[in-house]
């Protein structure tokens, strides 16, 4: 196509208009897109130079929770109905905060209490560390208590019965119609 190939100078439309004005491209030879792009030009960029960070108010509650307690149970991501422990904690916390019954400094402890009455086991990071340490020490002193349980796979394999022996050789199907292979490769047809 006629025209300069300097795509950095001017837009698609302005360059095409220049070509039409100078007569390098005749009005009747203009490309199909010309009328359309002229009538529906690209939209201007939205005015924004910086990207803000997305932060929610409950983020601080969640951070506090995860720094204090360890993750107790695995979360099923496909399950929309049951809430995770941390989500329940955040909901209870925000509920208490909006009610303004408890002073703000005590809301965290009050939420822990409420969750414990609901029957949720919460283990702090400190407790977990102490438990792990005690377990490691007991393994070092009396290792016979902590022998590895038998692996699921090996136990299931050992429990399986051996395959029964075949009395007769396996049967194979044979084609009913016999094909004369030689006739297929010969040139002259009968």
């Amino acid at each position: 196509m006629a025209g300069s190939r300097r795509e950095a100078v001017g837009s698609l439309l302005s360059r095409m208009i220049g070509l039409l004005k100078s007569g390098a491209v005749k009005q009747e030879d203009r490309p199909i897109w010309y009328d359309i792009v002229k009538a529906l030009p690209p939209k201007p960029l939205p005015p924004q130079n910086e990207v803000p960070k997305i932060v929610y108010p409950e983020d601080f509650v969640r951070v506090h929770f995860h720094r204090t307690f360890v993750e107790t149970s695995p979360v099923r991501l496909t399950d929309d109905k049951t809430k995770s422990v941390s989500q329940r904690f955040v909901d209870t916390y925000l509920d208490l905060l909006s009610k303004k019954v408890v002073p703000p400094a005590e809301i965290f402890d009050k939420t822990v209490e409420l969750l414990k009455t609901e029957g949720i086991k919460l283990q702090t990071v400190q407790e977990k560390q102490e438990r792990d340490l005690a377990r490691r020490q007991s393994i070092a002193t009396s290792p016979e208590k902590y022998t590895q349980p038998e692996d699921d796979f090996t136990s299931s394999v050992s429990r399986m019965e051996p395959p029964p022996e075949r009395s007769s050789p396996p049967k194979f199907r044979t084609p009913h119609v016999k094909v004369d292979l030689d006739s297929l490769y010969s040139d002259d047809k009968k």
Binding site: M1, R5, E7, I36, K43, Q48, K53, I54
Partner: protein, 265 residues
């Protein structure tokens, strides 16, 4: 009296619908009924003329806000469910994409779908108009996952696709690459603008050089400076890729159907 009556009967034909202002109202009742018939005739004729004008001419379709109904094809909810808002890691952000990013959540960019939706509608509308006027479309992508989808879609709608490695000079040096003078497409649609992770698709620059408008799905790591109609959106998730491919398939078919209806084929 008789003369005026004759005049009225004469003016009963459609060609004499213009009322004579100099005509003296000799009989008021007669005059009113005459006016009514004239008005009815005049308005009828006028309506007929309007209907004639309302027949869609190719130029008038551009004045229509949404001639092909592309705005009904996709909503904000669809974009959200297809994960179009998910961008790349903030460290991979291209500066030109900053205006379209809603925010950074845990070092991942989130694309503002309120910008994406009007841009997508606009791009689809332009695309449909080009197809409607018989333009040649080239669909491009360098993502191996969606290669079969794009090629099959292009084949189904009767257009062209180029999803294989781009030979340098396919557009700019076509005479040497192909041995003949080529016909260039009237619009290029890029489902991905990156050739590899580090390189921009060469086709974008080449179509900009040869005055071919481009419509491209641009992720947060893409350069929009050479794209005519950028659509900010996730170009890596299968769900969003599928959505965009389906949208272009539907739009092409809609435009071709309209083309047949209006007798342009």
């Amino acid at each position: 009296m008789a003369a005026s009556l004759r005049k009225l009967s004469l003016s009963n034909s459609v060609s004499h619908i213009r009322p004579n202002v100099h005509n003296q109202p000799t009989c008021p009742v007669r005059q009113i009924s005459c006016d009514r018939t004239l008005l009815a005739k005049f308005s009828d004729a006028h309506r007929q003329e309007l209907e004639k004008e309302a027949q869609p001419s190719v130029e008038s379709t551009l004045l229509h806000k949404d001639y092909f109904g592309v705005k009904k094809l996709v909503t904000l909810q669809d974009l959200f469910h297809a994960r179009v808002h998910l961008g790349h890691n903030a460290g991979l952000r291209h500066v030109s994409m900053t205006p379209f990013i809603f925010g950074e959540r845990q070092s991942a960019d989130i694309i503002n779908l309120e910008h994406t939706l009007p841009l997508l509608h606009h791009a689809l509308n332009v695309f449909a108009h080009i197809v409607y006027r018989g333009g040649i479309v080239l669909f491009l992508s360098r993502n191996m996952q969606i290669l079969p989808w794009v090629e099959r879609m292009a084949k189904d709608v009767g257009e062209y696709s180029h999803c294989r490695p781009w030979k340098r000079g396919t557009f700019t040096d076509a005479a040497n690459v192909f041995g003949t003078l080529p016909i260039y497409p009237d619009v290029c649609v890029f489902f991905n603008t990156q050739d590899t992770v580090f390189e921009v698709h060469r086709g974008i620059v080449e179509s900009a050089k040869l005055l071919v408008p481009t419509i491209a799905i641009v992720d947060t790591n893409c350069d929009i400076s050479n794209v005519t109609y950028p659509v900010p959106g996730n170009d890596d998730s299968p769900a969003s890729q599928r959505l965009f491919i389906d949208l272009f398939r539907k739009t092409t078919l809609l435009a071709k159907e309209k083309r047949k209806e209006d007798g342009l084929v």
